[in-house]
């Protein structure tokens, strides 16, 4: 289960006045088991790139092999591909449509041809996994739920088909800080227990620094970095010209360093930052 991208380019509305190049000569590989973050400023081609993975956008030029399926081929088994690559779009709660939560979550598994008994189990499992009480919500209308709950239902709707890869396009956009944290922890939980590979688009560098193993940086249709968050955020010039900012913890660390507090974060998390500061401050006191 890997995603191999080679020399991929994509142009919107080619040969019209609206022609717009979205991706240019992109090459990288995502291996099974990775949690990959994709970052880049608005319009850098992130969403266009990930929508290639389950053939929502047709390959124009270059090679793309997903889970052994060659997307340049004439005949593609879309059902299998889209079952294996679960995709959660931005503001997924706006895509709910059924009259009950259970039915909405069952939409994917039903389309992918799971059997009736299997579907009931999958739905129950998915709703429980996203942290909702199955018995309580299953007969509710999705539109009665709160924003965060709706988003959980939408996530359940994707993972109920048991994808091998989960692609998330800004999963925390528009949520309050607590809601953001909960969704991220949910994704982390899913990654360790349910899906093998997670690919996440985000504007929030702190999320990327904390939750991913590798970061792919797009800048104006080109891939400029594919490296660990550690390498990326320790390199002070890596994000020059991209319009992206470093994670808050990194910026705080750098500021403290400039002002004479010699700390070096092992992990880019708030807890790690607090620990380091405490260590240094107590060392000075003694």
């Amino acid at each position: 289960m890997s995603i191999k991208v080679k020399n991929l380019s994509y142009t919107y509305s080619p040969k019209t006045p609206y022609e717009h190049k979205a991706l240019e000569d992109i090459t990288f590989t995502i291996e099974e088991g990775e949690t990959v973050g994709i970052i880049g400023s608005t319009g850098s081609g992130k969403s266009t790139l990930v929508q290639h993975f389950n053939a929502l956008i047709k390959l124009q030029s270059g090679d793309l092999v997903v889970n052994g399926i060659d997307l340049a081929a004439k005949k593609i088994n879309y059902k299998e591909l889209r079952r294996d690559i679960g995709m959660l779009f931005q503001y997924p709660e706006y895509q709910l449509f059924e009259d009950t939560v259970a039915k909405d979550v069952a939409f994917g598994p039903k389309n992918f041809g799971y059997k009736k008994e299997e579907i009931d189990l999958l739905v129950k499992e998915a709703i429980t996994l996203v942290g909702l009480d199955y018995e309580e919500v299953k007969d509710k209308s999705p539109f009665e739920l709160s924003g965060g709950e709706k988003r959980r239902v939408a996530i359940a709707g994707v993972i109920a088909s048991r994808p091998k890869v989960l692609v998330l396009d800004e999963p925390t956009a528009g949520l309050d800080p607590v809601g953001k944290r909960e969704i991220l922890e949910l994704i982390h939980k899913l990654k360790s227990a349910y899906v093998k590979t997670v690919i996440m688009i985000s504007h929030n560098m702190d999320e990327i620094a904390e939750f991913t193993d590798r970061v792919i940086v797009l800048n104006d249709k080109y891939l400029i970095h594919s490296t660990t968050p550690d390498n990326l955020f320790r390199d002070e010039n890596a994000l020059n010209g991209t319009g992206l900012r470093y994670p808050h913890v990194v910026r705080i660390q750098n500021l403290l360093r400039e002002n004479g507090l010699d700390i070096n974060l092992e992990k880019f998390t708030v807890d790690s930052l607090i620990n380091e500061i405490e260590k240094e401050v107590f060392k000075k006191d003694n």
């Binding site: 006045p17 929502l56 389309n111 539109f143 709707g157 994707v158 088909s161």
Partner: protein, 279 residues
């Protein structure tokens, strides 16, 4: 993408036609349509077609993309042509199919009606290709101003029109987004019979309606928050100006109508050309 929408899409190039005052374009469009329905003779049709083709060439919109707008009406054109061929009986009989007669007059009538439909759509498409929705409603509002003297809420109508036009691309984009999301969950929209396809639309339509109402609510709030009440004496950001270009366009529109009426009534036109058989 919503950008692929062909019918009635603004085509952004600079040209004589693009720069015309929208009011003038509306007037010329009206003249053009009147012309399309006035013409009787085949020579008249040549004038109408020439007018449409010349305007397209001047507008620098590729003829092909204007022709694409005909795809949508192809069925209606063929359908009406077939009906006209069979139900208009006049002149020499070409052949019969059972009780149905195919006559010379019927064939001409069918061809003329088909040409009328095609020319009608070509001309009106050019208007939306060369005028932004905002300019369109602005022009329409100014042209309808006299109606406000008899208490018709012209400005309200104009603002409703411009809002609806403004929301078409937004909703199209929304449809694309929802379709992608549902396809990612295994939905298929192009498989199965009519009923299955209609049912497959539900997962798009319901979220679309919900979002349309949400947007309408938000827009109404935003208008209210800025004390918008559609008063008639608002000032304008873009003032419409009547220039020499508009004069030239209007004059050519007038000569177009005069020419068609002249051909219809055989004024000034040598009798000779009417003796050519296909007229």
């Amino acid at each position: 993408m919503a950008r692929d929408l062909t019918l009635g899409q603004y085509y952004p190039v600079e040209s004589f036609v693009h720069k015309l005052d929208p009011r003038v374009k509306f007037i010329i469009m009206t003249m053009y349509i009147v012309g399309v329905f006035l013409v009787k003779h085949m020579y008249g049709f040549i004038v109408v077609a020439a007018f449409a083709i010349l305007s397209t060439l001047i507008s620098r919109v590729p003829i092909l993309s204007v022709l694409k707008s005909l795809k949508g009406i192809l069925f209606i054109v063929i359908f009406t042509a077939i009906l006209n061929v069979f139900f208009h009986k006049e002149g020499r009989v070409y052949f019969t199919i059972g009780k149905l007669l195919v006559t010379e007059g019927g064939v001409f009538f069918a061809v003329k009606m088909a040409l009328r439909l095609i020319l009608l759509v070509l001309g009106t498409t050019l208007l939306t290709y060369t005028t932004t929705p905002m300019a369109l409603t602005d022009g329409l509002e100014r042209l309808m101003t006299p109606l406000s003297w008899i208490k018709i809420p012209v400005h309200d109508i104009a603002i409703i029109m411009s809002i609806s036009l403004r929301f078409i691309p937004i909703l199209m984009e929304e449809v694309q987004k929802i379709m992608k999301a549902q396809r990612a969950r295994g939905a298929e929209f192009d498989k199965g019979g009519l009923i299955k396809r209609a049912k497959a639309l539900l997962p798009i339509l319901i979220p679309l309606f919900i979002s349309a109402f949400r947007r309408a609510d938000e827009l109404a709030l935003a208008l209210d928050a800025r004390c918008y009440n559609a008063t008639p004496n608002r000032t304008r950001y873009k003032k419409l100006k009547f220039t020499y270009r508009d004069l030239i366009a209007l004059l050519s529109g007038i000569s177009y109508i005069v020419l068609i009426v002249a051909i219809n009534h055989r004024f000034w036109i040598p009798d000779l050309i009417y003796s050519i058989p296909f007229v």
